[in-house]
């Protein structure tokens, strides 16, 4: 049986990789890097054979001429980042190994469970997957199975649907006959604004939303999350707060397990999310 050994939720702030290499760093940067190092160590400790990476495409691979709600990449290698991300964020081009067989099994298993993923045999992943990989597995040596979501171009799937898709992913993992150790790496936001009047502020965008959101993850309260995570209710917390929905997919993957770490770090940036779920030595937890 395949086994889910760890799931990490982390920021994909695309400015951070370059920022962390600069000599002059804003206050709080050290705290963020310390948490990232902790997440990197956790991932290494659990030794996953394959990593399901979940993130929201930012109108790179996805566009409104043909907009999927959820998509699986179906390739044995994935190229990372696009021209505009190299230009604006200084992200490095990268090449990530994929686990094509796992991609196919997850896709077919999801179909059987009522989740009709779109798929792509020519997928380039953007900063929602590149940045978390740079943070927690810069070696980029674990084969990935990328899942991309639409958190950016309304109308979006409902919050509950994100959760249900997560549950289906978990159910497929648990049913796979091979003995693979499976990790899940999810990226997203807490309250955040990009391209609006409150972008690039060195403080929390909506501390009240951040606290509630971390609370939903901590208690696994999908009903409360679903009630508050509609497009209309999230928009006033920042126009890109919608990226929190990925963490509701993580909550679905956790299927009731409590996180071992849940935090919206206040470090002089919009809140930096750090979530972890882990299987312990006794096989409990996840």
């Amino acid at each position: 049986m395949a086994q889910l050994v760890t799931m990490l939720g982390i920021t994909h702030n695309p400015f951070m990789p370059k920022l962390f290499k600069q000599a002059q760093q804003p206050p709080g940067a050290a705290k963020v890097q310390e948490r990232i190092a902790m997440m990197r160590a956790r991932l290494a400790h659990h030794k996953p054979d394959v990593l399901i990476t979940i993130g929201n495409d930012h109108l790179h691979q996805f566009f409104m001429d043909n907009m999927p709600a959820f998509m699986i990449g179906k390739m044995d290698r994935f190229h990372g980042t696009f021209y505009d991300e190299v230009r604006e964020f200084g992200l490095p081009e990268c090449d990530l190994p994929g686990d094509l067989e796992f991609c196919n099994r997850l896709l077919e298993g999801a179909f059987e469970r009522g989740v009709d993923f779109a798929y792509s045999s020519e997928l380039t992943v953007d900063h929602s997957i590149v940045v978390p990989m740079l943070f927690v597995r810069p070696e980029m040596d674990i084969p990935i199975v990328p899942i991309l979501t639409n958190c950016i171009a309304p109308p979006l799937p409902t919050a509950r649907r994100f959760y249900e898709v997560g549950r289906a992913i978990r159910s497929v993992i648990d049913s796979l006959p091979d003995g693979k150790r499976v990790g899940v790496l999810v990226s997203g936001h807490l309250s955040l604004e990009v391209g609006g009047p409150r972008q690039f502020e060195r403080r929390l965008t909506d501390p009240d939303f951040d606290a509630r959101a971390v609370g939903w993850i901590t208690t696994g309260d999908i009903d409360a999350a679903a009630r508050d995570c509609t497009f209309e209710k999230m928009l006033p917390s920042g126009n890109m707060t919608l990226g929190f929905l990925n963490f509701l997919m993580a909550m679905g993957v956790a299927s009731g397990a409590s996180p071992t770490h849940a935090e919206g770090l206040d470090a002089g940036f919009p809140a930096v999310p750090f979530f972890a779920w882990e299987r312990n030595e006794e096989g409990a937890g996840l």
């Binding site: 930012h58 109108l59 790179h60 566009f63 409104m64 001429d65 696009f82 021209y83 505009d84 230009r87 604006e88 950016i152 171009a153 309304p154 109308p155 990009v194 391209g195 609006g196 009047p197 409150r198 972008q199 690039f200 928009l235 126009n239 890109m240």
Partner: protein, 103 residues
């Protein structure tokens, strides 16, 4: 439908260095050439805003904010200091509030 076309235009310029350079060199010329190849049309107001790289008007018309910022940074970065650009962009966005950006 034309809000979609504005987003499509920004997407093309933003993701392609050659398109970005051609647009910045001659915005009205590039906009006219590009629109000719499309089935959909800009409104006069949208066309004028793109010809002027007028991010404030584009924001107010409901251009996708994530895309619009990246596009704005791309097409003004050689002529405006980034801090100034961020400041002016935010002031113009604040004046327009949060327009609907669904296509």
């Amino acid at each position: 439908m034309s809000r979609y076309l504005v987003d499509k235009f920004m997407h093309v310029v933003n993701m392609n260095e050659a398109a970005e350079e051609a647009y910045v060199e001659n915005p009205p010329g590039f906009v006219a050439r590009w629109e000719k190849g499309e089935r959909l049309d800009f409104t006069a107001e949208e066309r004028r805003a793109l010809e002027r790289r007028d991010y404030g008007s584009l924001y107010a018309m409901g251009a996708h904010p994530f895309l619009l910022w990246s596009f704005t940074e791309a097409v003004w970065r050689h002529e405006m200091d980034r801090e100034e650009l961020v400041k002016d962009y935010k002031a113009k966005a604040a004046a327009a509030g949060y327009p609907d950006f669904e296509t």
